[in-house]
């Protein structure tokens, strides 16, 4: 991974320091909670960035994986089914299961392009929500509209997480992990295959890329990030409700990815930071909060159509097709340079 240049590096350092030190100097527990949520959403946005930013597959139903992850954690660690798996056992299981759900949902979309893909993923998102809200009858699986409560908090060797501060550092650790994973994936054979598909699917196939496998990999890995985020959300709020996973949430996460600058990891994190923090900053204006939020989305896109940080976007990559050629040259391609 090449380090971001110039001021972007400084921005990364500032964001990183703020995430590390911020909670210790935050004026109230409330703001620590906001920071924890930023980390949680940045993890989700990085997952969606793999599908949308790297592979160029417009997914409007990403919240489905977030919901599946949350409910799986609720199933595995709550009195609902009487299962109480330890947090650090449940999360890897959920990551595998959500990745599998990504493949299941991704498979029927393989032939679709552009907006047809978008509407099908949107449909899956809506179906997931409707199933969550309705599967309390005839057998109670999801708890229906009242959700599942009394979910176990994360615990490690007898130490149980209770404070927002502790959750913040847990979420930050997960964010760091997904950041490193994203950066390494981007410069791997898989990542190059995704970028090739994003730029020109036909050409990618002609270059010998198995687009079916590459797309399913994108869906699976993107979904697994949402599995992490989902289980964290469930364990943090000790409850899950279908209304946590509305279509608007998919749109919110997508806005983070695009606003920050698709494909640019720092941009995605910045987008998540802004979109979680801004509504909080405008909280004083109460009723005008969402009005201003909508207006700002419009204004920002009109003035920065490529996103806030577009350094690694497709524009710069277009005149530089060499990585694709190298990645097809053989396993000796510089995959390890991440």
């Amino acid at each position: 991974m090449t380090a971001p240049a110039g001021w972007q590096r400084w921005l990364a350092i500032v964001l990183g320091l703020a995430a590390l030190v911020g909670p210790l100097v935050a004026p109230s527990d409330y703001w620590i909670g906001v920071m924890a949520r930023i980390c949680l959403y940045a993890t989700l946005a990085l997952g969606l960035n793999i599908v949308v930013g790297f592979a160029g597959l417009l997914d409007l139903g990403y919240v489905a994986f977030f919901g599946i992850g949350s409910y799986l954690y609720a199933f595995l660690a709550s009195p609902h089914f009487g299962l109480h798996l330890p947090f650090f056992v449940a999360v890897p299981v959920i990551v595998v299961l959500t990745a599998f759900s990504g493949i299941l949902i991704g498979a029927p979309t393989l032939r679709l392009r552009g907006d047809y893909l978008a509407i099908v993923t949107l449909g899956f998102g809506e179906i997931t929500y409707l199933l969550l809200i309705n599967l309390d009858r005839p057998i109670n699986i999801t708890g229906g509209p009242s959700g599942i409560i009394r979910i176990d908090p994360p615990a490690l060797a007898g130490f149980v997480l209770t404070r927002n501060l502790e959750y913040h550092y847990l979420f930050l650790a997960a964010l760091a992990l997904t950041l490193v994973a994203s950066a390494r994936l981007r410069n791997s054979r898989i990542g190059w295959a995704w970028q090739a598909i994003r730029e020109d699917e036909l050409a990618a196939r002609a270059m010998g890329i198995n687009t079916t496998v590459a797309k399913l990999q994108a869906f699976a890995i993107g979904a697994s990030f949402a599995g992490i985020g989902g289980s964290f959300l469930a364990s943090w709020q000790h409850s899950v409700f279908p209304d946590n996973f509305l279509f608007t949430e998919s749109i919110n996460i997508l806005a983070m990815v695009i606003l920050g600058g698709m494909g640019n990891l720092l941009g995605v994190v910045l987008g998540a930071t802004l979109l979680v923090a801004l509504p909080e900053v405008f909280r004083d204006f109460q009723v005008y909060r969402l009005l201003v939020f909508g207006l700002m989305l419009m204004v920002l896109m009109v003035f920065r159509p490529q996103g806030l940080l577009a350094g690694e976007g497709r524009r710069e990559e277009e005149p530089e097709p060499t990585p694709l050629v190298e990645s097809e040259a053989g396993p000796g391609a510089p995959a390890g340079s991440g």
């Binding site: 949308v52 160029g56 417009l58 029927p108 032939r111 679709l112 392009r113 552009g114 907006d115 047809y116 978008a118 509407i119 099908v120 949107l122 449909g123 899956f124 809506e126 179906i127 409707l130 199933l131 809200i133 309705n134 020109d200 699917e201 036909l202 279509f247 749109i251 997508l254 806005a255 695009i258 606003l259 698709m262 009723v287 005008y288 969402l290 009005l291 939020f293 909508g294 207006l295 700002m296 989305l297 419009m298 204004v299 920002l300 896109m301 009109v302 159509p305 490529q306 996103g307 976007g313 497709r314």
Partner: protein
């Protein structure tokens, strides 16, 4: 109750719902046809059309005019709603989308701008009109006794008016697009924007007109849905927009006849799902039909495959 007895009734509901879905879907499909962009704020334009219609109807009722008859009241509601919705669509295009596509942004930029516009319009309506729902006094306009019996179904005059108005508008749009010079330039811009410009078509004007037409049809859909469901609120554009967008894709987005067909199929599928299954799952069935259709026909029922490669 015997399922077969209520089936004709449900089919009529489905038909009425389907024509309105089709009407709203036209807005998505026309804009997509020329800009390859999902106008996410279209559902909100539909909602605002419903509010304008409500406002006119309430004003007429408050004026205590005698001889309120749907023959002239419905057009009096429709015209301002369509004009307002159409102008709103043109404004959105001018300020939220044009700056983006003129600079050749990726296709996702306008999408986010549209999402912002959607959130903005929703909240603007909520703040100015209040969060509580408004009630269309439909029963004062269409007495409940106005019904006809068709093949075992009791069809209210309102449903006939809905189907008639929506059908008439679709037919009008079809004639406009297929038979007039304006329609020819719309098709030319949809086919190849640059080439159309070279041939002397004023592309910006055509795009603005397309937004006006699509949004006006959405506004008319808002009035019809308001009359039918009698309750409107600032959030109604969300689910209706979603359904109409689904209908547009089902029929093949960018294809005008496809939008009408998709709307009809979606409306009928929903009414059948309500008849034969748990009504809670009607949207699941609707989306499942969409997904299955696209799996076997990846560009929708009447979709074309031309220029697919260029758009991605």
């Amino acid at each position: 109750m015997d399922v077969l007895q209520i089936l004709p009734q449900q089919l009529v509901f489905g038909l009425a719902l389907g024509t309105v879905y089709g009407l709203i879907a036209l807005g998505y499909t026309m804009v997509y046809g020329i800009l390859f962009m999902i106008n996410f704020a279209h559902g909100e334009i539909f909602m605002i059309g419903a509010y304008v219609g409500w406002w006119v109807l309430t004003a007429l009722l408050n004026a205590k005019l005698t001889g309120l008859h749907p023959v002239w009241v419905v057009p009096v509601m429709l015209v301002p709603a369509m004009l307002f919705a159409g102008l709103l669509g043109v404004c959105l295009e001018r300020f939220a989308y044009r700056p983006l596509y003129l600079r050749g942004a990726t296709r996702l930029g306008p999408l986010i701008s549209a999402i912002g516009a959607s959130i903005f319009l929703q909240n603007a309506v909520m703040l100015t009109q209040g969060a509580r729902m408004k009630v269309y006094m439909t029963s004062l306009l269409f007495p409940r006794t106005w019904r006809v019996q068709v093949a075992g179904a009791s069809v209210s005059a309102l449903v006939l008016v809905m189907i008639g108005v929506a059908g008439l508008m679709m037919w009008g749009l079809h004639l406009l697009v297929q038979r007039t010079t304006l329609g020819r330039s719309i098709r030319a811009v949809a086919e190849d924007r640059e080439m159309a410009a070279i041939m002397g078509v004023n592309v910006r004007r055509v795009i603005a007109v397309t937004f006006f037409l699509g949004s006006a049809l959405g506004g008319a859909g808002g009035v019809l849905v308001g009359l039918y469901y009698t309750q409107i609120d600032f959030f109604m554009g969300y689910s209706a927009g979603l359904k109409a967008f689904t209908a547009a894709v089902l029929g093949g987005i960018g294809n005008i006849r496809g939008a009408m067909l998709g709307g009809l199929i979606l409306g009928l599928v929903e009414s059948l799902a309500v008849t034969f299954m748990n009504p809670a799952y009607k949207d699941v069935v609707a989306f499942a039909v969409l997904i299955l259709t696209l799996v076997f026909k990846p560009t929708g029922l009447l979709g074309e495959t031309v220029a697919e490669g260029e758009k991605v």
